[in-house]
């Protein structure tokens, strides 16, 4: 038995380096090139906080389910662990992730379907939306009062069997910075709806307003804003747009001439990735990349393009298409006036000598 095995047996299996919990909100992402295979390791999972991460105790944490339900109730962490669990492999992407950016991660999640919690609480027939509230609190906008981070999600999405109250990521309990002890997970939707450190679910009717969601001003952010001849249209963000990112090579790299494996990941919120193309000439011509991992709803695929590079200057781009007929745009839609869904094909320059 090795020392490491002994440490695992004594409960020290999780003592891999973890960053200290700082007091302020964190904004962390890591190069995609650090990922072996398709699963983002816990310590390379991106983090986007709005407020300071709370320090929660398993012994006192509770999730309250209330609002338009016939049996409001509180679930302890023991309750959550003893309810039927489901596993989902899913990408989580920050809605403000830059084109080609790495604020996206793919993990194996485990948790209790949110639908199960809503059924246990006796979800009302008039349920239309669900407000999800985290334990992290702060002032979202300068003029708004300090309130918990909150999101409102249509009840249909919550009742989808893959929408989870997740408590595990890649077989281990959630790290504090990713929502320990439990968070919402809405596969296929942008990350902000997957509320971390979840502590309250409020079922709303069509007429109800999510209190923290509206009072904090959250209803005014995370919207698609489109300039139209009739004026600006505002639509809440939901499904992840089809996207790809080149993990290797990096921007500005000097490469030796010869064979190189250009590789990266592609994902979409609807359907699954159907194909990925790579251009080395700034989008004038495209070559099919080889998909190295199986496709499927919510997960990303890893792809490779075998590039025999002769000396010269190159502009690399990748472009994905999904089974629902969506293809990555080559440029940003000029009518968009917001900073979300940045899924155009990012040009990446490198020199071969």
């Amino acid at each position: 038995m090795t020392r490491r095995e002994l440490l695992v047996l004594s409960g020290a299996g999780l003592i891999s380096p973890r960053p200290s919990r700082g007091s302020g909100p964190q904004n962390l992402s890591y190069p995609l090139s650090g990922i072996d295979g398709t699963i983002t390791p816990q310590d390379l999972f991106f983090v986007r906080d709005h407020f300071s991460p709370p320090r929660l105790s398993l012994e006192t944490w509770q999730l309250s389910v209330e609002g338009r339900v016939s049996r409001p109730r509180k679930f302890s962490f023991s309750d959550v662990l003893e309810l039927p669990a489901r596993q989902v492999e899913s990408v989580l992407e920050c809605s403000g992730n830059a084109a080609g950016g790495s604020a996206a991660s793919n993990g194996k999640w485990e948790g209790v379907p949110i639908s199960f919690l809503l059924e246990k609480a006796g979800i009302g027939r008039d349920a239309a939306f669900v407000e999800l509230e985290g334990a992290d609190t702060g002032r979202l906008l300068a003029q708004s009062p300090p309130l918990p981070f909150a999101q409102v999600v249509p009840v249909e999405k919550c009742l989808d069997a893959s929408s989870l109250l997740a408590y595990k990521l890649n077989g281990l309990f959630l790290p504090p910075r990713n929502g320990f002890p439990a968070r919402a997970l809405f596969p296929g939707w942008y990350g902000m709806t997957s509320v971390k450190w979840l502590r309250r679910i409020v079922v709303l009717s069509e007429e109800d307003r999510g209190s923290a969601f509206h009072q904090s001003g959250m209803n005014r952010v995370y919207n698609r804003v489109i300039e139209t001849p009739e004026g600006r249209k505002t639509i809440p963000l939901t499904s992840v747009q089809v996207k790809s990112a080149i993990a290797w090579p990096y921007e500005g790299m000097n490469l030796p001439a010869g064979n190189h494996a250009v590789w990266g990941f592609s994902w979409t919120g609807t359907g699954e990735i159907r194909d990925v193309s790579v251009s080395v000439d700034g989008g004038r011509s495209w070559n099919a990349a080889k998909l190295d991992s199986p496709g499927g709803p919510y997960r990303w695929v890893r792809w490779t393009f075998a590039w025999n590079a002769a000396p010269g200057e190159y502009t690399l781009m990748s472009r994905a298409a999904d089974s629902m007929g969506h293809q990555q745009p080559l440029t940003r839609d000029k009518s968009r006036k917001d900073v979300y869904e940045l899924n155009w094909c990012l040009p990446l320059r490198c020199t071969v000598r």
Binding site: M1, T2, R3, R4, L6, L7, S10, G11, A12, G13, L14, I15, P17, R18, P19, S20, R21, P31, S33, G34, R55, S57, L58, E59, S76, F77, S78, D79, L81, E82, L83, P84, L172, F173, L174, P175, P176, F180, P181, Y250, M253, N254, L255, P256, A257, G258, N259, H260, R353
Partner: protein
């Protein structure tokens, strides 16, 4: 009620009094016995079943209990006993039905639920285990003994998540005893609930009157939780406390050394393990990290001695051979390095890349044994063809033995396989220089230079 026997007797009496002929199970033949005969028959069956159980004749016990269950179909105790006999004979599916019947008949008793948890786990039906635990949580929320016992059972069966759930329920239901609190701290640490684990474990570590061994375990768990929470100094302090409180606890030395090693404090790690070795002279587990840390602390000869001692005691551990080979390399003894790796190859012929490692060691001999290197690389090719490291080494051998064309092929293939490794470019540039191909040499060196300016992965 804790004892199965007591439970059974009491339950049987209750059921006999409540006996109702109209509630016979569907697969029971209709009874022709009168009330008194029924009672007598039940007693006979009970005695016979108990005797069979004591003697390990479970099928006979099952037959007797089944007949009893027909005569007393609303007896929770009979179904409980039947379930026990069925479980003892390995018929878990039938046992599950029997325990479920017992639970339906007497919902105020937690024993059938506890047995449902056990048989469902034996079947491997985790969802049903969860369902039984959930049910128990609703019906027996304040029964800390039940939840504590479930937690211990689940720990024994490596169901750590559910053990955590039950351990938390036990804590919520009442003040846990010290060992239950210790179990909870360990489970919380494993779950990453470091603040909880630190609170529980530190309280035990500081509790006067507890045996030092328990306080040492608690200090150890607190140390590991501090490490998990990123508070390394507190982690080290607590693990040192654990060693002070109970110097015979091997894990404390191993954990502390591991943490010190992570920050390259090899000398301190080695000192901790040496201290452990003095207290635990028969410990084998200490030897491997000790040898490795001594080498890391540049006490290479001492490390070699310890690693050799470990291999004598645990010759099947491949990591020890690799550590020892590394130590010999650091000591400038490639012959012993190669021999150590050859010993590993003999014990574990399938060990990944072992022949390439041997080849590297043989290449470093003075003078290098080129034919032996190439022979090992041929062996390496059989399991990992086109390994860029093997191609690179082959290129170096060919370059040294003036087989220039073969050297160029091998080095170019190595570059093709791993274009970002500067090593083969350097060797290839040397080859071109030797062949008088100055432009190619310069170009190859320039490519190697450009690799040095790349960001780290």
């Amino acid at each position: 009620m804790n004892s199965t026997g007591a439970y059974r007797c009491a339950a049987l009496c209750v059921e006999i009094l409540a006996l109702s002929a109209g509630l016979l199970a569907a697969d029971c033949p209709p009874s022709t016995l009168g009330r008194e005969e029924t009672v007598r028959r039940l007693q006979q069956l009970d005695q016979a079943a108990q005797t069979s159980m004591r003697q390990g004749r479970y099928p006979e016990a099952m037959r007797a209990y089944r007949e009893q269950s027909c005569l007393a179909p609303d007896s929770s105790g009979v179904f409980y006993a039947l379930g026990t006999a069925e479980a003892a004979s390995g018929d878990f599916l039938s046992a599950r039905k029997s325990f479920a019947a017992a639970d339906r008949l007497e919902p105020s008793n937690s024993l059938p639920l506890a047995m449902l948890v056990r048989v469902n786990l034996s079947i491997g039906d985790i969802d049903s285990v969860k369902a039984a635990l959930w049910d128990a949580a609703g019906r027996f929320p304040r029964d800390s003994n039940f939840h504590g016992a479930m937690a211990r059972f689940l720990i024994q069966n490596k169901q750590y998540d559910l053990a955590l759930a039950e351990s938390l329920r036990a804590r919520e239901a009442g003040s846990p005893d010290d060992s239950a609190r210790m179990e909870l701290a360990v489970l919380e640490n494993t779950a990453g609930a470091y603040d909880d684990a630190i609170r529980n474990a530190s309280a035990l570590a500081q509790k006067t009157g507890l045996p030092d061994s328990l306080r040492a375990s608690a200090a150890g768990v607190a140390g590991l939780s501090y490490e998990g929470a990123g508070q390394r100094d507190a982690a080290i302090a607590h693990l040192r406390d654990a060693i002070r409180l109970d110097p015979s606890r091997e894990n404390s030395y191993l954990a502390l050394a591991f943490i010190l090693e992570k920050t390259q404090r090899f000398r301190e790690a080695a000192e901790v393990l040496e201290q452990g070795r003095r207290h635990l002279p028969d410990s084998t587990a200490i030897l491997l990290p000790l040898g490795s840390d001594l080498v890391g602390a540049e006490q290479v000869q001492a490390g070699i001695g310890v690693l050799n001692e470990f291999i004598r005691k645990s010759p099947e551990e491949p990591k020890a051979y690799l550590e020892l080979a590394d130590a010999y390399r650091k000591a400038g003894d490639p012959r012993q390095e190669a021999k150590t790796l050859q010993d590993l190859a003999q014990r574990k012929p399938e060990y990944p890349r072992i022949h390439r490692l041997i080849a590297s060691a043989l290449f470093n001999l003075t003078p290098p044994d080129y034919p032996a290197v190439l022979a090992e690389l041929d062996r390496a090719d059989q399991t990992a063809p086109d390994d860029p490291d093997a191609l690179y080494l082959r290129g170096k051998v060919f370059l040294a033995t003036h087989r220039d064309a073969e050297a160029e092929t091998a080095l170019r293939r190595s570059i093709e396989k791993r274009p970002m490794d500067p090593g083969p470019y350097y060797q290839l540039a040397r080859l071109y220089q030797k062949l008088g191909k100055k432009d190619l040499a310069q170009d190859t060196l320039a490519r190697m230079q450009s690799l040095k300016n790349l960001p780290a992965k």
